[in-house]
């Protein structure tokens, strides 16, 4: 009798652990420490690897309409931003936002679409990126990068959809002041450096209109989406 119970328990454990492993996000979304090119970056990546994997898992489960690709998260050095040190390292994340086509969104200018996407995602991403206290307080961290990408509402080119992208660079002090509530979203975007891209074409630094805190991320639910067992958001 005990034997049967033991077998049943082991089987249940195997099924459960197998299920959890199957449902887990791919760990390759985080750039491995060894693939960073400087000692400073490798140290950051080694010290905070758990926080980065938690960031990856949180977005994977809690924002299911968002996708990350391989090496989307890491301590990268921003390009086209005036450096403050010899090796500025920003905690960076790149996300692709799946969204239904919207004529209203499509009619906006690129700057207006960028303003809307900044308002919707920059704040919530920063909150997730600073959730780990040790990471947010690390004095060797210089800032945060959020790369937001979405489908351009235009006909495909040679059968391939075109994406629009903005890269948002925020220095650490500005980001932490926003997260702590000492400054608002408008101040955050005014201090941020934002680059735009139309497909593969760089549009340079773009001026976005005053931004706001959009509540979409905390209120939107994907229809019929089932959160994996044991995961809370």
């Amino acid at each position: 009798m005990i034997g049967r119970r033991t077998v049943a328990a082991v089987l249940a454990l195997l099924i459960l652990t197998g299920g959890v492993a199957f449902a887990a996000p791919a760990t390759d979304r985080v750039l491995p420490a060894g693939q960073h090119t400087t000692e400073k970056a490798r140290t950051l990546a080694t010290t905070h690897v758990r926080a980065l994997q938690e960031l990856n898992a949180g977005i994977y489960h809690c924002w299911p309409w968002v996708e990350t690709q391989k090496a989307s998260i890491g301590f990268y050095r921003p390009k086209n931003v005036a450096p403050r040190t010899q090796d500025d390292r920003y905690l960076s994340i790149r996300i692709y936002v799946e969204q239904d086509p919207s004529p209203a969104f499509g009619k906006l200018t690129f700057e207006e679409r960028s303003t809307a996407m900044f308002s919707r995602y920059a704040g919530p991403l920063l909150r997730r990126m600073t959730r780990d206290g040790a990471l947010a307080a690390d004095p060797t961290l210089d800032g945060f990068t959020a790369i937001l990408e979405w489908m351009k509402q235009a006909p495909p080119v040679n059968g391939r959809p075109v994406h629009e992208t903005i890269a948002i660079f925020m220095d650490r002090a500005s980001a932490l002041e926003y997260v702590s509530g000492r400054t608002d979203n408008r101040t955050l975007s005014a201090r941020a450096h934002v680059l735009g891209f139309d497909g593969e074409t760089p549009l340079g630094a773009i001026k976005i209109a005053p931004t706001w805190d959009d509540s979409f991320v905390t209120t939107y639910k994907v229809q019929n989406y089932q959160l994996e067992p044991g995961v809370t958001c």
Partner: protein
């Protein structure tokens, strides 16, 4: 008479079967655009969620859709244009 009828029947059958088959060019076109079921995972999702029942979408379904580029590989900026490792 029976032989003529038999030949007509055979000819009709050949024409019907032939009309139902794709040409080499058509197969080529299909092969280049196999997006209806890009993978067995997608097939599995479609089979699990039949018409008339409330669909259940798991995170893995959504991740697979993106990873396998069901809707085509996008034209987008490379990360190396924005960031250095």
């Amino acid at each position: 008479m029976r032989s003529v009828c038999g030949r007509l029947l055979l000819l009709t059958a050949v024409l019907v079967v032939g009309a139902g088959c794709a040409t080499g060019e058509e197969w080529g076109t299909w092969y280049e655009h196999r997006t209806h079921f890009a993978s067995y995972d997608h097939l599995g999702f479609s089979v699990r969620n039949t018409e008339g029942s409330a669909p259940k979408v798991s995170r893995q379904d959504m991740a697979l859709a993106r990873d396998e580029s069901w809707w085509g590989r996008p034209i987008t900026v490379g990360q190396e244009q924005i960031l250095d490792r």
